[in-house]
Structures are given as structure tokens and as C-alpha cells.
């Protein structure tokens, strides 16, 4: 029978079905950060269950507020750090080696096609870009995952989005996903997986596919997924070259984790991007999206480039193209947070960091910080930020502040002018 990718993963990982429709899956990777894990650790300790199912399958990073900004965040980091040592978790990333989880863990080769992945973080859906089932969960699910290596799900149905046409100059994966969320609305994909396919997605880099899958949750989706192909193989090759004779052999193996021809999707949508404009959010919900032409001229106080959505090397390259030889508007505070140390180093090697600094940007260490208003660029009441992040909720980057989501190109153009600016006009 022809199956979707998600059906294949559910079938192959099914541990138990305690009730009709409730599927308990074996987990390949359980990821942890310092915001949602310490309470799980403390609870497990209080219950006398301070152990883990398999330390090699647990990946840990301090990323949300790092280096610690105060005693409370230092304490959160310490609980996580002490636990990782106690449980002999090898893959633990502390200050100096840490980065935004959904950029760092793929970069380390931890995610493979066909994997099941959970984390106490809603943007875990990012990892579906590798043909994995990756879902954000709460702290209790995380606790059970750490302890028993399982997680329960209602099997999600698959919504297929076929992206066709040609992406116009200065439009990117971010503009595509904002368009998708506008179309689906903030709960259009609830209890579903969004499968991204079609020629535009097939031509995308892994970084761009991660940008797409990252925001699946903003439409309510359990995970985003892309079909593994040669682009996936090339990204993962340094990590799998000992397992396969050739990239072609890896591709053949990975291809078992593609949806079959003739599989049954719950819904299929076509999006032609040939006439897509750069997109920008308005107001306080991620489905409130408008073409940049309708948003131009609105002043911003801060421009933030970073996050698990758009803090990767290709994002920095795009923004730097606009910033090279230019100075950002004096009314704007520009903040760049490369998402991982590797991205930071590569950007340094390519001369990108210098371009950001020369243009007037502040360059910070890798961290989630400002995206959720915890550190490193929090807004004051009444302030407006143009951001390459994923949520424009009221007060998201600071109480009383407003966020406009956009691509790195639109953010860079906006930094130069101090008002929301169409990157095609620069």
C-alpha cells in the first residue's frame, strides 16, 4: 500500500497503541534545552527516577539565555549541566560551543531521515526538513521521553503543499512559509504534518527547507517535512560516509523515507511562487501577512537577524549583500546573532561579520535570547522590531513591543532605511 512519510515513520516506530488512535512511538532523539528541561529533571529526581533511557540518544544545549544573564538563568543552566554530567550525556553543548538548538543539532548530524525526534520546544518541527518526524512537546512528554524513550501521539494526517513556479529575485523560503501560513491560518494545520514538495522545495538548500519546516507550528502543524533527496545526502555526508559506499547508496537508503507515489494525503494545496512578493507580518498573529508593498514606510526601532528560523549562513550571506559598504539608519539598532558557533566562524571567514560590524550592527553570540524577549535585545513598550524570527505575538520580544516577521533580505533593507523597505527597490 502506498504510504506517506509520516505513516511509514509511525509504522516503523510503533511501540504500543494503548487506546485506538493513540500511538506510542520509540524515539531516536530526545533534545533538551535549559528552559523546559530543568523542571523535568527536578521532577524526576523528586520521584526517585533520576535516570535516562539511553544517554547516546539525548542531545543537550544551553541556548535560550546564554551566557546566563542573572542568578535564575545561571541556576537553570547549572541544573542542566550537572544533570548532563551525571547522566554521562556526551552531546552536551555549553557556553562557547552552544548555539540555537534547531540550527546546532542538524549541523552536528544528529537528525536522519526516518527518525523520531522530540524536544520541549515548539520549533522542533524544523528537523522534519531531513525527512524525520520531529515534534515539539511539553515538559511531561519530555520527562517520559528521557526516562522511557517513548512519546504518545494521535497519528497526524498529512497536508501536502506543492510549491511550483520560480522564486523571484529577493524572495526566499521565509516569504514562501509566510505565504503558506497566511493561506492555512494559525490553526489550519492542527494535528497535521505539513509536507513541503514540488520543484521549488526540491531546489532549496537544507537551510531553506529548515526555514519552511520551522514555521509549520505557526499554522498549528505537528511537524513540517521535506522528502530526503541528494541535497539531504550531501548535507549529511560527513556524518554518514562510513555507513555507505557512496552518496548514491545513501540516497537509495534515505529514499525509503519518502512518501510513496499514490499515497493518500488528507489535503493537497498548490502554491505558485512566480509572482510572490517579499512578505511581512502585520499585527500580532503569524497568519496576518501582507506583501511588503503594503507595509513599506513603517518605522522600526530595531532589526534582529538570527533565530532557528533565519540565523544560518545563507541568511547572513543574503543580508550582508545588502549591507556591504552601507551604514544602517541612525534610528535603528541592528542586532545579528549567528545561530551557531560554526555559522559565526564561517561568516567570519567569508568576511560577513566584518560587513555587519561596519554597517553598524551589533554582533552577539549564538542564542535564542531576543526572539522570545528573554535577553540580548528585548524591546521597550511601544517599540517595533523587524525580525527574521518566527512569532509576532503581542509582547513576544518584550512587553508592549511589536514584531514584524520577514526574510533576512527584507530585514537588511529595513535596517538601511529605518523603515520597512522592499528589498527589490535597493
Amino acid at each position: 500500500m502506498a504510504l506517506t512519510l509520516v505513516e511509514k515513520i509511525f509504522n516503523s516506530h510503533l511501540r504500543d497503541e494503548p487506546f485506538p488512535g493513540t500511538k506510542v512511538l520509540d524515539l531516536d532523539v530526545v533534545m533538551c534545552h535549559e528552559i523546559t528541561t530543568p523542571i523535568a529533571i527536578n521532577d524526576l529526581m523528586a520521584r526517585g527516577l533520576d535516570r535516562v533511557f539511553d544517554a547516546s540518544k539525548i542531545k543537550v544545549v544551553i541556548d535560550h539565555v546564554t551566557p546566563a544573564k542573572d542568578s535564575k538563568t545561571a541556576q537553570q543552566a547549572k541544573i542542566l549541566r550537572d544533570w548532563a554530567r551525571r547522566q554521562r550525556i556526551h552531546d552536551f553543548f555549553d557556553v562557547g560551543r552552544n548555539g540555537v538548538c534547531h540550527a546546532l543539532f542538524p549541523e552536528k548530524g544528529f537528525i536522519r531521515p526516518g527518525f523520531t525526534v522530540i524536544m520541549g520546544d515548539s520549533h522542533t518541527c524544523t528537523h522534519g526538513a531531513f525527512g524525520a518526524f520531529a515534534a515539539g512537546v511539553g515538559t511531561t512528554d519530555l520527562e517520559v521521553g528521557l526516562l522511557k524513550g517513548v512519546c504518545a501521539f494521535r497519528e497526524p494526517r498529512t497536508l501536502r503543499i506543492h510549491v511550483s513556479g520560480t522564486l523571484p529575485e529577493h524572495t526566499y523560503a521565509k516569504d514562501v512559509i509566510l505565504k503558506v501560513i497566511q493561506t492555512l491560518t494559525v490553526n489550519g494545520a492542527t494535528d497535521r504534518v505539513i509536507e513541503f514538495g514540488g520543484p521549488v522545495v526540491e531546489a532549496m538548500s537544507m537551510e531553506s527547507r529548515m526555514t519552511l519546516c520551522n514555521m509549520a507550528v505557526e499554522a498549528g502543524g505537528t511537524s513540517g517535512v521535506c522528502m530526503p533527496d541528494m541535497t539531504t545526502v550531501k548535507y549529511l555526508w560527513p556524518f554518514v560516509e562510513k555507513e555507505y559506499e557512496s552518496p548514491e547508496a545513501a540516497l537509495q537508503d534515505f529514499s525509503q523515507w519518502r512518501s510513496d507515489e499514490g499515497c493518500r494525503y488528507e489535503q493537497e494545496l498548490q502554491i505558485d511562487v512566480t509572482d510572490l512578493e517579499p512578505m511581512v507580518t502585520d499585527d500580532f498573529k503569524p497568519d496576518q501577512v501582507r506583501p511588503v508593498s503594503e507595509m513599506e514606510g513603517r518605522p522600526v526601532d530595531q532589526v534582529y537577524i538570527g533565530s532557528c528560523t533565519n540565523g544560518r549562513l545563507e541568511d547572513l550571506r543574503v543580508a550582508a549583500k545588502f549591507l556591504e559598504g552601507q551604514t544602517i539608519a541612525p534610528s535603528v539598532r541592528g542586532i545579528l546573532s549567528p545561530a551557531t558557533p560554526k555559522i559565526f566562524r564561517d561568516a567570519e571567514d567569508e568576511g560577513l561579520i566584518r560587513i555587519f560590524l561596519d554597517s553598524g550592527f551589533c554582533v552577539t553570540n549564538p542564542t535564542c535570547g531576543a526572539c522570545l524577549g528573554m535577553s540580548n535585545g528585548v524591546l521597550a513598550p511601544g517599540e517595533v522590531c523587524a525580525a527574521t524570527t518566527n512569532r509576532n505575538f503581542n509582547g513576544r520580544m518584550g512587553k508592549g513591543g511589536m514584531v514584524h516577521l520577514m526574510s533576512p533580505a527584507t530585514a537588511a533593507a529595513t535596517a538601511l532605511r529605518g523603515v520597512i523597505t522592499d528589498p527589490r527597490k535597493l
Binding site: L49, K72, S122, V137, T140, A152
Partner: protein
């Protein structure tokens, strides 16, 4: 099993997100109780006062569709429970929030839009909801009027409510 039912807090808006339920600036807390005073602190809604009596007295929230969207933070259900709110009723929930409620032995009850509309008709007076989990029906009462509404609570959800959460169930079974 936890205790369910009591005075109702009506929140007449769709898509209330977890940043509104408990803002990220409080995620540095490592005790659940510390979240209590900040419940719904950033929610902007006409007639709603996050520091008012309605929220302190409430045991049940009735809201519109897609309640709990956004972040996966289980701090949202914890902040509710720290205020004695153990049940939320809405036409739909974001997946992670809904699971987080049941994972903690709390109720996230999905009712049809028409049933939720009926509940909202009681918002003018101090309404109370009582639950009959065995009979799968709830009663809303205010100002001498009352209505009964049937709901479905079965399978995994029911088991988690009876077991007061997923950890106890999973630790014993797997």
C-alpha cells in the same frame, strides 16, 4: 483525580497563545507555583483584568478556538493550575497545549462552536460549571438558569485524567 469545576472565567477571543498565558520572561522560574501571579498577564482583552477577582476565583476557563497556540511551554497549564484552574473548554486547542493539559491530569475539553456559544450566553452573571465525568456531561448555572451539555472524554484522555497525568501511566507501562 484532580478536582474540576467552579466559577468560570470567559475569554472571548480566538488564538490565545501561550505567551499571553504566561510570558517568556517568567520561564526562568524553576518552581511551578512561582508562575501563578503572572497568569494571563499580557492578555489584552476588553473587560479583562489579569489582576482582578475573576481570574483569582476562576476554576474553569471558557475560550474560543485554537486556545494555547504558540510555544510548547508546559508553564502555561502550570500557571493555570497554580491559580486553581484545572479545566479549559474551547472549540479547539493547539496540539501541544492540549496534550500538556492531559499530561498533567487537567481537562482540555473540546466542544462544538454552538455549545461554546451557549456557554458564553452565561457570561453576564457569575457562572459556575460542574462536571460529571462519569456521565460525560457538564452543567453551567448562573442567575437561576442552567444548561446541561454532553461531552466526550474517553480513551487516552480519560485515562490521563484518572491517572493524574502521563508520567505515572508511562512509568508503570513502559
Amino acid at each position: 483525580m484532580k478536582s474540576f469545576g467552579g466559577p468560570v472565567l470567559f475569554l472571548d477571543r480566538t488564538d490565545i497563545n501561550t505567551d499571553e498565558i504566561i510570558p517568556a520572561r517568567y520561564l526562568t522560574e524553576i518552581s511551578r507555583e512561582a508562575l501563578g501571579p503572572h497568569l494571563l498577564e499580557d492578555l489584552k482583552l476588553e473587560g479583562f483584568d489579569p489582576k482582578g477577582d475573576a481570574i483569582r476565583n476562576a476554576r474553569v476557563i471558557v475560550a474560543r478556538r485554537n486556545f494555547g497556540c504558540g510555544s510548547s511551554r508546559e508553564h502555561a497549564p502550570w500557571a493555570l493550575e497554580a491559580n486553581g484552574i484545572t479545566a479549559v473548554i474551547a472549540p479547539s486547542f493547539a496540539r501541544i497545549f492540549r496534550q500538556n493539559m492531559f499530561n498533567g491530569g487537567l481537562l482540555a475539553l473540546e466542544l462544538p462552536e454552538t455549545a461554546v456559544d451557549l456557554l458564553f450566553q452565561f457570561r453576564k452573571e457569575q457562572a459556575e460549571i460542574s462536571f460529571d465525568l462519569e456521565g460525560q456531561r457538564l452543567t453551567i448555572a448562573a442567575g437561576g438558569h442552567q444548561e446541561e451539555i454532553a461531552f466526550s472524554l474517553a480513551g487516552f484522555d480519560r485515562t490521563l485524567v484518572e491517572a493524574e497525568g502521563w508520567l505515572g501511566f508511562a512509568a508503570a507501562r513502559y
